[in-house]
Subunit: 592 residues, 2 copies
């Protein structure tokens, strides 16, 4: 079907349902960063491939709403004859509806693809115009999507208690205690990583995100209902999760609410899809809008998870070290590859590591000006070949059975310029300052963010992204609730949390720099007047000394780098068998 045919087919559906408009968000019922391939309805309906956006179709017009990252791309992918273009902004969506519809009209939604908060707020605004949201029982896009892909149906497998550090029963009791603190009877859990963590189960159906798929209800006694494709459960799953877990089909989930009539259920109205919450309300359940307590407890890795994270980072260090040694050798031999070849080569070094299951996100392999685009993906375009005398940015990570990694290194290709070296050094100074900072309990990431930016700011530079995101344990590489960024975030950094430390600098159309380690929050054991927390660097990969101007570092910073490199060398060297790679590692980690 052509784009125009799709719109007309949707309008035929809309007329049949007697609705005058239709919201198409880029979201599915799991409301996560990843949308399952067979749920990419915005992409199917409009042709827009960005990772965030909304379309509104009316009977005689259509509009698409995207954020600043996609304003150019959306105009390339969609015809201005068919779509009006707006910012991804609730108010602009409401204004578009206000000008397109009249009193008494209805706007269709699939309540599985919107949060309850969004539904309530949008309803309240549209009511002022006499317009009504209509949650349809079926998704109108699915009705016209003839060649819709099949869902991935890989098995749901056990994640060992030895890796997890706690059994599912133990974890469910922990969260049940939180449910009881709210005097609630149950907790709606729609975040896939929360369910996976609670049940110690994983699957590989979503690229880079080894979560199980479904929705769940945890009762105040620790029992749990997991609604999923039960045909995919491996045989040992039931015994592994322990007593108290029922597995049902997703289509049967809402039937569970009947037994909770007159009781209370915790649900995060901002995060969870509206459909289950609306069904619960229909069943006479009182909703308590609260953050899913699983997130904060999951974020504080237990000692076993932390040990696994360290182990995963050693494997990752070996893989990336082999890649960097290979890269230097190729460049020295005059072999310059394109970004895709480099990303594939790096992937192959990771794949041979035992326990490797997947990448943790699409590798960002970017040369020259491509590296200045923070969301660049060489797969979206013709991969560029690295020029000589430039810098190469590679941001990549793996999902290992022991844990998840995420690292960025910026690498000299030939002779970097003095500007490259100055800017890498300023970025490194910020990275070191954050890594070294100790701080009292109660400190939030937003308070520490400036440490990574201070040297850039003092010379008139900045970077337009956060400094650090949380990272899961063989789960999402972007995990809340903590973060380190300019924006206020009231979640304190707590022992066991893993965050990235990734300051950068980007010169449009020229080059991009980022230096990223994962760091774990830990209690300092110094004999201090006041107890302090601090960080432990998990990532063990050399930082390219050819891009560092030693004269811009103070003694403390030089000591940090030398001691970091010594640790990298001592940890990785015994596990590297290739003589050339050994030699490369020795010089890459020698004293500055």
């Amino acid at each position: 079907m052509s784009p125009q045919q799709k719109l007309e087919a949707l309008r035929t559906q809309m007329r049949a349902q007697n609705v005058q408009a239709l919201f198409i968000p880029r979201a599915d019922e799991y409301m996560g960063e990843y949308v399952l391939h067979h749920n990419e309805r915005l992409r199917f309906a409009t042709g827009f491939t960005g990772s965030a956006g909304m379309a509104i179709i009316t009977l005689d017009s259509a509009a698409i709403f995207v954020d600043g990252r996609y304003t150019v791309q959306v105009r390339q992918q969609l015809s201005a004859d068919l779509f009006e273009f707006y910012d991804l902004d609730n108010q602009q969506q409401l204004m578009f509806l206000a000008k397109s519809l009249k009193q008494g009209d209805k706007v269709a939604i699939d309540a599985n693809c919107h949060s309850l908060t969004w539904v309530n707020n949008t309803n309240a605004s549209l009511q002022i115009l006499g317009i009504e949201l209509a949650a349809l029982p079926n998704n109108l896009i699915d009705a016209i999507w003839q060649d819709r892909p099949q869902p991935s149906q890989l098995p749901t497998f056990t994640f060992s208690n030895e890796s997890a550090g706690a059994t599912s029963i133990e974890k469910r009791q922990l969260i049940a205690a939180e449910i009881n603190k709210h005097d609630a009877d149950a907790l709606l859990i729609t975040e896939l990583d929360a369910i996976s963590w609670l049940l110690n189960l994983r699957s590989l159906n979503i690229p880079c995100l080894p979560v199980v798929i479904g929705r769940a209800l945890l009762y105040a006694n620790g029992d749990m209902v997991f609604a999923t494709n039960t045909a995919l459960l491996e045989d040992d799953v039931s015994a592994h999760v322990g007593s108290g877990v029922r597995f049902i089909e997703e289509a049967d989930f809402n039937k569970e609410f009947a037994a909770l009539n007159g009781k209370t259920m915790l649900a995060d109205a901002n995060i969870s899809h509206a459909a289950s919450q609306l069904a619960a309300l229909d069943a006479g359940i009182e909703l308590i809008n609260a953050t899913d307590p699983t997130a904060l407890i999951k974020a504080q890795k237990n000692p076993t998870e932390l040990a696994g994270m360290r182990q995963a980072h050693i494997k990752d260090g070996i893989a990336v070290t082999h890649f960097l040694a290979w890269l230097d050798e190729e460049v020295a031999a005059g072999n310059f590859y394109d970004e895709g070849v480099l990303a594939d080569k790096l992937k192959r070094f990771r794949e041979v590591q035992p326990g490797f299951k997947d990448l943790s996100f699409d590798t960002i392999s970017a040369v020259g000006g491509n590296a200045a685009m923070c969301h660049y993906n060489h797969k979206d375009t013709t991969p560029a070949v690295m020029p000589d005398n430039s810098i190469y940015l590679v941001d990549s990570g793996g999902q290992y059975l022991e844990g998840t990694t995420d690292v960025t290194r910026t690498i000299a290709i030939g002779q970097p310029s003095s500007e490259h070296i100055k800017m890498v050094t300023l970025v490194l100074k910020g990275h070191i300052a954050l890594d070294q900072q100790k701080f009292p309990r109660g400190t939030c990431g937003a308070q520490l963010d400036v440490l990574a930016r201070q040297h850039l700011w003092n010379q008139g530079f900045d970077y337009d992204h956060g400094t650090g995101h949380g990272v899961g344990h063989m789960l999402s590489v972007h995990e809340g609730p903590q973060r380190i960024a300019k924006n206020t975030n009231s979640v304190p950094l707590l022992p066991g949390m893993v965050v990235s430390n990734e300051p950068g600098y980007y010169k449009a159309d020229d080059f991009g720099i980022r230096i990223e380690n994962l760091i774990a929050v830990r209690e300092m054991d110094n004999d201090f007047e006041r107890p302090m927390l601090g960080f432990e660097a998990l990532t063990l990969i050399p930082i390219d000394k050819r891009l560092i101007d030693k004269t811009l570092l103070n003694e403390n910073e030089i000591n940090w780098l030398n001691s970091y490199h010594l640790q990298v060398q001592q940890t990785l060297m015994p596990q590297i068998m290739d003589k050339n790679v050994q030699l490369w590692l020795a010089q890459a980690t020698s004293e500055l």
Copy 2:
């Protein structure tokens, strides 16, 4: 009257009014940091002299609620036979009422002494118990206060347009534009410094706070009604404020609301006393709860105000330099004075500066362990004599016609210990880091706070107060809305704002350290990729080098100190006539 007699007299009043309890806050109708002497009702009724607190009197019990600073003091000042002691916390107050009262009871308040938000929230909670707040027309304490002090009746005088940098008409037009942005008809202004700034008027009725006293209404056309004791207005006031200002008596203020029937009025429900807002509601005015826009505009000093602040700091620098030179000479001669003598001596050096009007706050003059108490005032106790081989903390400031100052220096008395020197140096490193930091527009103080703490945190130390508060222009030495502190504050630092930079360290019962300059936010004129803001130090007073361990400073920090001291020397020296003081200043500002 004895404390018990006062309570019984109040209970007689309460019975006559048919109320079963009475709130006595430490506040008056101006709801500011300072409570006018004749409005110190909590102190009169209970004997508690702290700067924050609440009492609740019932017919057969009484309770006092104070914060952590006063838990010891309150038990010394009040008898446990008469009062129960609680934390200064709304919930504890409600719990006390819940246990003391029964359904149908009434709790008296003077709505002039509580914010509307407090009244509404307290009402909502008490209603659940069937208890009612009763806003009485007269304050019950006043009815029994026979020897109540007379209000200070010093004149209200003009603050020259040359000092203010803008006429009252210009300022009122600025704020009227903000009123119009809210589609409102008027703005209730109860903050005394806002009224003083808008009218370019001052008075000296409140110690250290040269504001006029009254309440005001600013209309959307820029006209203004100022309700005050009109007998105190100097003859030239009316011409000075320009057209559109009416002066009325405070008692007549609420009559103004009648003309606004059916119109809307901006008022800050969190800040302004409830009485005027309740009267406005009674008069059929719709209230819009919003921050008084005057605060943010006033906080961004205009070029004339900034020039005045610089001038005031030169005068202050001369005064404090004379004091520090004198102090060193006395200590060298073996003369050790008490904290009160030192504070008085310092005041005399300030008083001789032309344009000096008042101190900007009670001088904190503290030796030894006294300096570890952040709210120490030698007037509350027997002033201590400085011991030899110790450090002396002096936090002081002046109100000059050109502007307001606030400075803290920590001074070596004899031979300080290595611990003193180490801790002063760590504090200084934080002070320097904050002073030097550049930052993009939109940055809030909470983001920069860590810079002042980083070196302390890294060695296990911290200080339990904010790093910086805003400062007014010949107005309050504590001025919002910006601040630099751990707590989130969403007001960005903007050019022209003046804040303090005052990291410290306190070792209980031993010593206290603070190094405070005032700094002004300014646009950096560097040729930067991104425009940055930065700070300009206003305070020009030597930092005691005897307390600095040079080996703990990096080159950049040493350069900062030397260049700061050079600026102090070059600015102050030409204005110092006393040879001995010149010699002292030369050595105090010589290179480290």
